[in-house]
């Protein structure tokens, strides 16, 4: 993938409040394309809210969101998908009234770069995507008959089918058994390596983020409290305080 100006996701002074609660306050960052960037923070820090804002599900109360030189915060979610940002949901939300293949077809027919595909071509392409994520055998099975890991991967495949430049993953590892973690992480790394997609990844399993991410953002109480490489972030006192209330650095594992 060409990493041009238009693959840079930037957020400036982003803020949103619900009723009296300021869920996000003055968050700014600029993400280099083609990397895996981790987003961490205690529960309620505003991570999913951030994703909802970027994908247009929420409208911000202040600030702006940019992809390259295009402003995103006023666009409806489907337009943001067309611009090149895809996401997965925390609870894993594939379409349960379809098969795995059909889920991917929705992404192909309606995502970015759609409209040129005939029905037959789309089916072939969909099979390819399922092969990429290791779900070739499950293509024809209804999603309702798949287990959690498979469902989450279907959702991931669907997101990939929309040809994103940026992929937002919201706790994709949540609920997976320890055996499934390594294959899932491998898929994500492959997405970055083979497809050149920028992955922004919310996760609670810090060890995983530390080992796979090249860059980290730390949120707490709706604010960005730190940003940097994993070693920089772990040495950061503010981060330690947020997580443990201690003044020493964060321990691994």
């Amino acid at each position: 993938m060409n990493h041009d100006q238009n693959s840079i996701l930037e957020v400036r002074g982003l803020g949103i409040h619900f009723g009296g609660v300021q869920a996000l306050r003055n968050v700014s960052f600029r993400l280099d394309p083609g990397k895996i960037i981790g987003v961490m923070g205690p529960n309620g820090a505003g991570k999913t809210t951030l994703f909802n804002l970027i994908t247009g599900v929420y409208k911000p109360s202040s600030g702006s969101i940019w992809l390259g030189d295009q402003q995103l915060q006023d666009l409806p979610p489907y337009r943001i998908c067309h611009v090149g940002i895809a996401r997965s949901f925390q609870s894993g939300r594939p379409f349960t009234n379809m098969t795995a293949l059909e889920n991917v077809l929705v992404g192909l027919h309606f995502g970015r770069g759609s409209g040129v595909l005939g029905m037959a071509e789309a089916r072939i392409r969909a099979s390819e995507i399922l092969a990429l994520v290791g779900l070739s055998k499950q293509g024809g099975r209804p999603v309702s008959s798949l287990n959690l890991m498979e469902r989450k991967i279907v959702e991931l495949a669907r997101a990939l089918a929309t040809c994103p430049k940026i992929l937002l993953l919201d706790e994709i590892l949540a609920g997976l058994s320890p055996m499934d973690l390594a294959p899932a992480i491998a898929i994500i790394e492959r997405i970055r390596d083979e497809l050149g997609i920028t992955v922004v990844w919310i996760e609670h399993i810090m060890k995983v983020l530390m080992e796979t991410c090249e860059h980290l953002l730390v949120l707490h109480h709706g604010e960005k409290i730190a940003e940097g490489t994993p070693s920089e972030v772990t040495a950061n006192e503010i981060v330690a305080q947020a997580y443990f209330g201690k003044k020493e650095g964060v321990q691994h594992g």
Partner: protein, 296 residues
């Protein structure tokens, strides 16, 4: 406009508003406990009204005595409906959407049956109950005594419902099931029984309202649907689940209707409610996230 006229309009508004609140409360209990919209609710009201009418006409029974009888009769009826019709559906349908669709059909069937049974038994003739029609004067306003009674009773029963829901064990159980059915189950609440109770209470309230309404309104087999739609209006505006909200919304609807009737004309009285409802829903859908479909 004179002060007197304003007060008169307000008073009528309170009379009907109290009635709407009562009906909406019943509907709300049913919705809360089962998450279904009982479109046949007005038919239960109609039955209560006819019961009161016939007891009065045939045996001179005072509506005030018939009222608790109607409440009890409708309670039983409500429990039967829940047991025979709704519970089997809960087992047989696999998704919430399928359940909702199926119950919609069931209630439609109930509506058809009740309306036509009433038509068969009692014909479409307008029935009017003359009870406490003599005007009473309060501070310069003249109003028929029965309207005052209706207002007082409707508000009192609504108030009792509120107290009951807040402070009794059963009331708390009902609220728990309405808010979070699964957790309520885990806490040991017998959701099935609450379902039966909920429908019974909702039906009883409809019967009570019907009994009251029979003294100030005309009774026909088709009188129910209009009240159902108004009760929905109040329930939605007042906020599903909020007793206070329903009280305010009910009174507001009554007063607005009364005002509209005076200013524009009686034909547009009912329309006010719908315009209000629609305007409210549309406004709220654009501004409040609670009114939209889930976002997560």
């Amino acid at each position: 406009m004179e002060l007197n006229t304003i007060l008169q309009v307000l008073l009528f508004g309170v009379v009907w508003g109290g009635l709407y609140t009562l009906i909406a409360t019943g509907l709300n209990v049913i919705y809360g406990v089962m998450k279904i919209l009982n479109i046949a609710h007005g038919e239960l009201l109609m039955l209560g009204a006819y019961l009161t009418f016939w007891l009065f006409t045939l045996w001179d029974v005072s509506p005030l005595v018939s009222m608790p009888l109607a409440a009890l009769a409708m309670f039983a009826f409500g429990v039967i409906i829940q047991k025979l019709l709704i519970e089997p559906l809960m087992v047989r349908t696999k998704t919430l959407a399928a359940f909702e669709n199926a119950t919609l059909i069931i209630f439609f069937g109930v509506l058809l049956i009740l309306q036509n049974v009433a038509m068969l038994l009692w014909t479409a003739d307008y029935r009017v109950l003359s009870y406490l029609n003599d005007p009473v004067t309060i501070g310069g306003l003249s109003v028929a005594a029965n309207r005052l009674v209706v207002a007082a009773v409707a508000l009192a029963v609504s108030g009792l419902m509120y107290v009951g829901m807040q402070y009794t064990l059963v009331g708390k159980a009902i609220r728990a099931v309405s808010e979070d059915r699964d957790t309520a189950k885990l806490m040991g609440i017998n959701v099935k029984q609450i379902g039966l109770l909920g429908f019974g209470i909702g039906a009883a309230l409809a019967g009570t309202a019907g009994s009251l309404a029979s003294t100030i309104y005309v009774i026909t087999p088709t009188v129910g649907l209009l009240f159902t739609i108004k009760a929905f209006t109040v329930m939605v505006i007042g906020g599903l689940g909020s007793q206070m909200g329903i009280l305010v919304a009910g009174l507001a609807l009554g007063v607005l209707e009364s005002g509209a009737s005076y200013i524009i004309g009686a034909e547009y009285k009912d329309v006010t409610g719908y315009v209000l409802l629609i305007g409210f829903i549309l406004w709220k859908s654009r501004t409040s996230s609670a009114f939209r479909g889930e976002i997560k």
